[in-house]
Amino acid sequence: MRGRADPQNRRWSRRAWLRLAGLGSLTSGVALASQDGQPDLVSASAPDHLGAAMGPVGRVSTESFDPTQFLRTWNFSNLPALERERFYRETPKLDGTTLREYELFAVDREIEIAPGVFFPAWTYNGQVPGPTIRATAGDHLRINFVNQGSHPHGLHFHGWHPPGMDGALAEQQVMPGDSFLYEFDAEPFGVHLYHCHANPLKRHLHKGLYGAFIVDPPSASARPPADELVMVLNGFDTNFDAENEFYAANTVASFYLQEPIRVAVGQLVRMYVVNMTEFDLINSLHLHGMFFDVFRTGTSLTTTESTDTIMLCQGERAILETTFRYPGDFMFHGHQAEFAELGWMGLFRAEGTRAT
């Protein structure tokens, strides 16, 4: 079509349009009698700015994955005792440490990542992020991994372990139908992660094979008691163009906007934040109205920073501690506005009265 313009003559033509429209309104104003009360074509006002108009439409089903429940679940603590035993068993050892045994499996599963949007994910135990694994430094972990998926998978933990337990080399991939027993001690303390390291790596990650791995300090009293929350920052590339169409904390876009995370005023809140976002170099977390103490990678008991915005590279993580001072809603989101508007946004709802 003629005049399929480039940006340069778009500018030119816009001016021309204004001229023409001005002339047009003038002439038609003479020609047509009933012009009163008509909005002027050129200076038409923008639509009403409805703040509530932003965000995905509808609600996801929380039947198979509930992001609220995921926040405070580790070692399958959400399951009834009998069912939990199928996936997690702990046995005290003579030296005071604990033997923790896990059953993890990889399985292809369609998950709802935003209302009405279904993503053909690769999952650990049917969920993205995978189950949070939590141990105390020095505990012995024994993780039986079964690959029920359609591609080779595996487990690669961040932390100290012998090379044979790394799960990253090509020969360490677990073929579909096979299984492998990963065995190592949980060290060092901090907030870590585990993920699939099979090739092509990028795809195995963004399809959903990752989870949080928390190692508590050996002394139980090292960190004060707190309301503890697991947040895995992630994104989904639904049209496979190597860019994420959806971002979230814990998979479901804008979920915590609709279902705020309930916390108590005056109580210490500890967030275990792991950045598993693929494709984008960095992600971030910004909290409104409050500051938090940062423990990068959680490997120190001394905070290094007090801030309201933290930047995390891919695979980077941190423990954040804060105590809400006022009741009400506190927004939190990635401070890349694009991520926020594509789903990485939520609310804390602090309840109770202000501590004096």
Partner: protein, 412 residues
Amino acid sequence: MPLSQPPRRTGAETGRVRRPSGAVLLALAVLPLVLLGGLLGVLVWSGPVDAVRGEGYPPVETLAFQRVELGPDGVLAVVLNDGPDPVTIAQVQVDDAYWSFTSAPGPTLAHLGRATLTIPYPWVEGDAHTLRLVTSSGVTFDHEVAVAVETPSPDARFFGIFTLIGLYVGVIPVAIGLLWLPLVSRAGRATVNFMLALTIGLLLFLLIEAGHDGLEAAASAPSSFQGEALFVFGALAAYIGLEMVGGWLRTRRRDAGAAVGSGWILALLVATGIGLHNFGEGLAIGAAFSLGEAALGTLLIVGFTLHNTTEGLAIVAPLAKEPVRVGQLLRLGALGGAPTIAGAMVGGLIYSPIWSVLFLAIGAGAIAQVVVQLTRQVVGEESVSAYVATAPVAGGLFAGVAVMYVTGLIVG
């Protein structure tokens, strides 16, 4: 049922084999259709394609934007499901942000189903905006509004503006071109041939452009509509249609005792062809507005105005040796120019790419027919190659193409 043979001559009387009765013929005609229906039923029921695709094979999802309007309430988009499988629009992004929306009649579109999305987005005048629809399987479909300007609504002002645009683009330029008539009628044979050849050059250029635009629109139209075939056969139909109209006019003239000259019929045909073409142009301008590209529409307007002045010349060139009254001339001008107004209104109100293809096709066919008519008049009884080789004709052809090329170049 009437039988096909005369009733008294039966097979027994003539000794010939008795022909089957009407009922039998009907049965024979219908039987293959019944079998075909059965086959279709079996295909739908057993689904051999599904067997090939297998369980859980991703659906083929296609969505096409039919129309995008910007208004005080935000963005309104009409989308069509052009694919074989149903598509559910799960979420809508505007400029990389999820935005609330409503979908009428519903979010799920069947094959060739249509939905109107209303998105209360605070668009910014003069900026570019990108709409992105996310389906339930995460597939995305984008539409860019290059320069956001409020879409005219179909009120008195709308019709006023489109009438004005039509006047600027179609009627006034054509009328200006008609003013060359006195020059044409005073000129000698060589000048008239030059003028006619110039017109042929102009029209050939328009023809190529119409072909390009039409095929481009065909490519952007949903594939179910088979735009390319529609374009080619639409053009062919227009060509044959005009050929028939020309034949009918000539017969009428012969019957009426040659009251009207042959130049007149030619001018009438040229005006009709150009009118059809201008309807297509008006459609393109109106469509640019309806797709939220009002500023691009302006560019089209300037281009068409320049081009169309030459169309007036094309109409009067065959009238060189005819007595012409002003009223007749005005009618010819209106025939050639006024359809632009109607086209702009239709394009602005009910635009869809497929209408654009169809009207561009009709315009192209009409122009092709006019070119042939004019060539016949220029060439007469001689061979085409011999005639083209003469200086006035070759010069005219070249000048015609050059004028179009240069005016096209100026407006980009």
